[in-house]
């Protein structure tokens, strides 16, 4: 292979892309040909020249690009720290408020409250056809409804408030 034909292989050899048999051929040729050795050096220098030719990255390059991307809806918007703080403070607060509301609403309305909604229906029961035993149970209903008035440890006392089976006739 003459100098003209082997120059393309030398080019690939310089780039590390020559096959092993080509590389052997090139090395043999370079050992005997000063012109091709010079050509090989020039090829290597040219590679250095292109590597040194670099564009500059302008400081606002990223900012401009991301603004264009956001305009085209190509970049998900970042949540602000405020948004995160709202998320992590308002949600637990709302949950706590809901729990508090539930607890408060589930408690018995105080006896001196003007509303009668939670009171036993004494008006309809007084003078009704309740037996004396029933009346006693109804009178004790307030105690049953108010857990604060009831000692949970003495659970057997539930039996005391359980109305006995009605006797018909």
């Amino acid at each position: 292979m003459g100098c003209r034909e082997i120059r393309e292989v030398i080019s690939a050899y310089v780039d590390g892309e020559a096959r092993p048999e080509e590389a052997r051929l090139v090395e043999e040729h370079l050992g005997a040909c000063p012109q091709c050795r010079q050509a090989e050096k020039r090829m290597r220098d040219l590679g250095m020249a292109v590597a040194r030719t670099e564009g500059a990255v302008p400081p606002d390059f990223r900012e401009n690009l991301f603004a264009r991307m956001e305009k085209e809806d190509l970049l998900p918007k970042r949540r602000s720290i405020f948004a995160y703080s709202v998320r992590w403070t308002v949600v637990p607060l709302a949950a706590a408020a809901a729990i508090a509301l539930f607890v408060l609403s589930s408690r018995e309305v105080p006896r001196d409250h003007p509303s009668t909604a939670m009171r036993p229906p004494t008006a309809t029961l007084v003078g009704g056809d309740l037996s004396p035993e029933d009346r006693e149970i109804v009178a004790s209903l307030e105690i049953l409804e108010d857990p604060d008035l009831f000692d949970e440890t003495e659970i057997e006392e539930w039996e005391f408030f359980t109305p006995p089976p009605r006797q018909r006739g």
Partner: protein, 191 residues
């Protein structure tokens, strides 16, 4: 550390951080490639922005089987090619200094280490770079792209072949032709 393909998958699922990481990894090389291909800083910036917009727009079409870098350079090459075509249609051309034409490529080129350059050598180095950039623009686009992708961007012949859609043998020939033409253009400057 996540791979480019993993980051692309995350971006496809709506992760901004994933795209920012991909941008951080690749924006310099994209700008350098555009600069080497267009020969102009302003055009390189414009082209590089367009490259990233195209990457984002085409994210859903990216397949992890393709190496991300190869995919990016395929987009970058098409983008710069469109820019150059548009310029040609508009009648704009990259300025070429005619004094560089017809020089003898047979003279040797020696590029000393620029870190050791004095003021005169630094000025000469700047001139050399300008002339080199101009010489690059004189090359046929396919030869320039092959040479820049291999020597400037570090892609293998096989990867260059993938980006350009040609055979490895064609890449080998194009890089050789680019070298010969560049040496003919700038070696005279170094006499």
């Amino acid at each position: 550390m996540k791979t480019d393909a993993e980051l692309m998958a995350l971006y496809q699922r709506g992760s901004r951080d994933a795209f920012e990481e991909l941008f951080a990894r690749h924006h310099r090389r994209v700008i350098h490639f555009c600069y080497r291909m267009t020969g102009d800083q302003a055009r390189a910036e414009e082209a590089a922005q367009e490259v990233f917009l195209r990457i984002a727009r085409a994210a859903s079409t990216y397949q992890p089987t393709a190496r991300f870098t190869t995919w990016v350079y395929t987009i970058a090459r098409r983008t710069t090619l469109n820019f150059l075509r548009d310029e040609k249609e508009d009648g704009e051309k990259v300025p070429i200094d005619p004094t560089g034409e017809g020089r003898d490529a047979g003279n040797g080129i020696a590029l000393p280490d620029s870190r050791e350059w004095g003021p005169e050598q630094a000025a000469w180095g700047m001139q050399l770079q300008e002339r080199f950039l101009e010489a690059l623009q004189k090359l046929p686009e396919v030869n320039r792209a092959a040479f820049v992708l291999n020597r400037g961007e570090g892609l293998s012949y096989e990867e260059v072949a993938t980006v350009l859609g040609v055979t490895v043998q064609a890449v080998k020939s194009r890089i050789f032709r680019a070298r010969e033409a560049l040496l003919a253009e700038i070696s005279g400057l170094l006499e």
